[in-house]
């Protein structure tokens, strides 16, 4: 078996960046693959799911038994339910990344109070910035700051999104709820709640775009100003964990 020093030279000559592990006493090889009469590892592939279960094993006792790279990629996809290198690296990584989003929108604002200042319905615009942390593939949570122009109100919220990945994990359909507090201006001060629906795409491993509709209800206890808007935004994707 090779030493780490031999592995280092081999890895450098082939540009290998994944871990090339030296099983110098052969113990791991005996456990997983088997050892041949010359004392070397029996070549083979073992695919381990994230929960630790072995989902595929193959042993090559002859040269022709070895898998090609394409066969291995196909086997990984079949065993893990992924869809090619793009899904594993870009798509899944996109879903796995922290997102910093900026969204702009336009729509209608309805003031539920009778008469007084700003009663009735008018056009509005909104701007929002959010920092979203992924909790697995299907949930994003984080803080959001939003300004509604017609209501003239700031909303500082927590937002939670559930999402269903689409297009092999490079996009997602999202539904979200928000709740928080409007500290400014004084007449709008109070609790607010809202909901969103988005179509999200990671257009690169570091950049996303999202289209959606969002509603926010300000002044929950004081007459309720309701904004409904269509939004478009961009997101920066940041990888926070890497081996």
């Amino acid at each position: 078996m090779d030493s780490p020093a031999n592995s280092r030279a081999f890895a450098a000559s082939y540009g290998i960046t994944f871990p090339l592990l030296a099983d110098e006493d052969g113990q791991v090889s005996r456990t997983y693959a088997g050892v041949t009469s010359d004392g070397n590892t029996l070549p083979g592939i073992t695919i381990v799911r994230g929960d630790g279960h072995i989902v595929f094993r193959q042993l090559a006792s002859a040269k022709d038994d070895r898998m090609s790279s394409a066969e291995l990629v196909a086997t990984v996809d079949r065993s893990l339910g992924t869809s090619g290198p793009a899904a594993v690296h870009d798509g899944f990584a996109g879903l796995d990344r922290v997102q910093f989003r900026v969204d702009l929108g336009g729509g209608l604002s309805h003031d539920g109070r009778d008469g007084g200042d700003g009663g009735g319905t008018g056009a509005t615009a909104l701007g929002a910035a959010s920092l979203l942390l992924p909790l697995g593939r299907h949930v994003l949570i984080g803080p959001r700051v939003q300004w509604g122009v017609h209501a003239g109100a700031l909303a500082i919220d927590g937002i939670a999104l559930v999402r269903e990945p689409i297009f092999h994990g490079v996009g997602a359909l999202e539904l979200g709820v928000s709740a928080g507090w409007t500290p400014y201006p004084i007449p709008r001060m109070g609790g607010n709640v809202g909901g969103t629906a988005d179509l999200w795409f990671a257009i690169s491993p570091k950049l996303s775009v999202q289209l959606g509709v969002t509603t926010t209800v300000y002044e929950l206890t004081g007459g309720a100003v309701t904004d409904v808007a269509a939004t478009i935004g961009v997101g920066g994707l940041v990888q926070v964990s890497q081996y």
Binding site: S7, L21, A22, V35, N40, A93, S241
Partner: protein, 65 residues
């Protein structure tokens, strides 16, 4: 999550006629036994630490064929 690719085993050496003298003790659908080995950069790598980031592909390799 990403799929880690780990390559273990022998890089040099070639034998044409092989006889299996020791067979593996793991089976499909069992829990993969953890191990810790040294990588080419001197880092100690365990299967558990790789699985924390997602699935892992173990490639047992011998160099010349």
């Amino acid at each position: 999550m990403r799929t880690a690719l780990l390559v273990l085993g022998c890089v040099t050496g070639c034998v044409t006629a092989l006889h299996v003298t020791s067979t593996a003790t793991v089976t499909s659908d069992s829990i993969a036994p953890d191990f810790m080995l040294t990588a080419q950069d001197g880092r100690r790598v365990s299967l558990a630490s790789e699985l924390a980031h997602g699935p892992a592909v173990l490639v047992f390799y011998r160099g010349s064929w």
